[in-house]
Subunit: 204 residues, 2 copies
């Protein structure tokens, strides 16, 4: 019984891992369930044992992605050997490396699905909103810490800065995909870390 | 003969207009050619008389959108009764009104297609890149004018500022779609026009 439950759990994780990988490459609409089944060699019946539909699979996948990726983001943003501003930069540098490694093709699964599906599925929009709010809060906490030690401007709220940071980074990622170049990310680095987040020089 | 040519041209424009409208709502992959034919009452043969495939239709649609929308953007950005900074704000205000009118569902056709299709179709990516470069240049020209009269910071190049402006605005639009709120756009306004583009107060 334990073995069966473990095997079922494993199958679910195999499907979610493959789904994340394929959806990052192809988007939601371009990816069929059959392709996930072919890649994973999981029978259709097993898929529908775990998920009612492609949409419910995507919901599980978004949460699966969040629980894994958010742990990485959190680890970067709470690395006490680095200052808050350095941690934010580490996060972006790490994402930039992944983008560069894949020829600026993939982007971010949450950003991609948000752009593609927010207006198509209220169910997916709500899940994506939940994940985005979670990440924005992690950025806001880090920014607030930077504000407390005078490393980040306090002329705007940590919440507003986090939202602008997150939106602008996503926009730069999209532009990097279209231009097939990391230049938009480099410009983001310059503008965000040298100008936007920097404390006003008069106030220093 | 003239009538036939005009009718053919009209059919093409009818298809492109309907395609723009539907693709803005549904994205590329979620929209089938049959749906466009149903809405426009154009026979399938006529569609394939004008376009080889859905992809070549999308290429024509991107250029159709660009020639119409770019004219509007250009009119806003070259309105000499407003200062360069006011013109950039007018552009964003106008886009924000359209977003609000449609319940933050639609976003921008070029931004949507870039996110969805840049990694799926090299043909579409190239067209989208061309359009984005065109718009960025219009923003850069306006920003450069603002720099000349001291209304916009000259600590960064007009090109870099334009790229950051455009990427961040697209990112804010995506976030507005996912949050179903204009709040990310309002935060963009605050950050971009009050902080990023503003000349450094020491330098003034």
């Amino acid at each position: 019984m334990v073995t069966k439950t473990t095997a079922e759990h494993d199958t679910k994780v195999v499907l979610l891992d493959a789904g994340m990988h394929l959806m990052l490459q192809k988007g939601y609409s371009n990816l069929g369930i059959n392709e996930i089944l072919q890649v994973t060699k999981v029978p259709k019946g097993s898929f529908y044992h775990h998920f009612d539909s492609k949409e419910s699979f995507a919901v599980a996948m978004i949460n699966h992605f969040d629980s894994h990726y958010a742990a990485e983001v959190f680890a970067t943003l709470s690395n006490m050997s680095r200052t808050p501003l350095e941690r934010l930069r580490d996060y972006c540098e790490s994402s930039k490396s992944v983008m560069a490694k894949h020829g600026c093709r993939h982007g971010c699964l949450i950003g991609n699905l948000s752009q593609e599906m927010s207006s198509q599925s209220e169910t997916l929009r709500r899940e994506l909103f939940k994940v985005m709010s979670h990440w924005r809060q992690m950025f806001a906490d880090c920014i607030e810490e930077g504000q407390r030690i005078g490393e980040i401007t306090d002329e705007r709220s940590a919440y507003d800065l986090a939202e602008f940071f997150y939106a602008s980074w996503n926009g730069a990622i999209t532009l990097a995909k279209t231009t097939k170049s990391t230049e938009p990310l480099d410009i983001f680095f310059e503008m965000m870390f040298e100008d936007v987040l920097r404390p006003n020089s008069i106030a220093q």
